[in-house]
């Protein structure tokens, strides 16, 4: 498997959400994941991007979303950072609790955790970083670096 590091700095818009999803889908497919796993990865990234754009940066045009992909021989690691006030993990409800089942929101983080092998959420006063890991198989090769 060819190693890869690529990062994107994106505006706080709905277009960013779609772009993040599409980029994740492409990179996951190129990494050799099967169709179902590609969908899981792209959906996890979409949900993380939604959180960054809506809840983190609150569509603020001055704030950016940074999306990073790193593919090693054993993992696909995706990090999404926003510049918001920092996610309060204690306030995330359990969407599977009976009292929350019919709520119309609050499933994003749950879906991310369901679809990825490892999830780290690091909130701070200058924003939230969410790191998503999916394990892959393959050998390492050249490292490409790019930035947009």
């Amino acid at each position: 498997m060819t190693e890869l590091r690529v990062s994107y700095t994106l505006d706080s818009t709905l277009e960013t959400v779609d772009s993040a999803e599409q980029t994740a889908s492409r990179i996951a497919a190129e990494s050799g994941f099967d169709e179902d796993v590609v969908m899981q990865i792209s959906m996890a990234v979409r949900e993380a991007a939604v959180n960054a754009v809506l809840h983190g940066n609150a569509y603020d045009p001055e704030k950016k979303v940074k999306l990073e992909f790193e593919r090693t021989g054993s993992d696909l690691v995706i990090t999404i950072r926003d510049q918001g006030k920092g996610l309060d993990l204690a306030k995330i409800p359990d969407p599977l609790a009976p009292e929350n089942l019919l709520k119309t929101s609050g499933r994003g983080i749950f879906l991310i955790r369901s679809f990825m092998d490892e999830v780290q959420i690091v909130p701070s006063q200058t924003g939230t970083a969410i790191k998503l890991v999916k394990h892959v198989h393959g050998s390492s090769g050249n490292v490409k670096e790019a930035s947009q």
Partner: protein
């Protein structure tokens, strides 16, 4: 592919054929507007045919829940028809599969409305 809906009547039931993506933004809004329009016309037996829905995110799931509760609160019924594997799996892991009345045959789904 953006979200599209079309409606048809079968034995007093309004079938909403949905296609495309039910996601944050336009897709969710189109579904919300379609259900609201039916309710405003007194059409409260609604069968959402999701057979051509290619993608749904957490916002889309929330919109399905909203449609379900909105219709129910107005004394109506909303059922789901022809889930794709992706949508089926999402409803399973979110424990919503048992909340919705999910059908895979249109004729029997129509008959199931009171």
């Amino acid at each position: 592919m953006s979200m599209k809906t079309s409606t048809r009547q079968v034995d007093g039931v309004t079938i909403v054929d949905c296609s495309g993506r039910i996601t944050l933004g336009e897709g969710s809004v189109i579904l919300r507007d379609a259900v609201r329009e039916l309710l405003s016309k007194g059409q409260k037996k609604i069968l959402l045919n999701l057979g051509e829905v290619t993608y749904i995110d957490s916002s889309g799931i929330g919109e399905l829940v909203s449609a379900f509760t909105t219709v129910r609160n107005q004394g109506g019924e909303l059922k789901l028809l022809n889930l794709t594997k992706k949508v089926h799996d999402l409803l399973q892991i979110t424990k919503l599969y048992t909340v919705f009345d999910v059908r895979d045959d249109e004729a029997s789904a129509v008959k199931a409305f009171n």
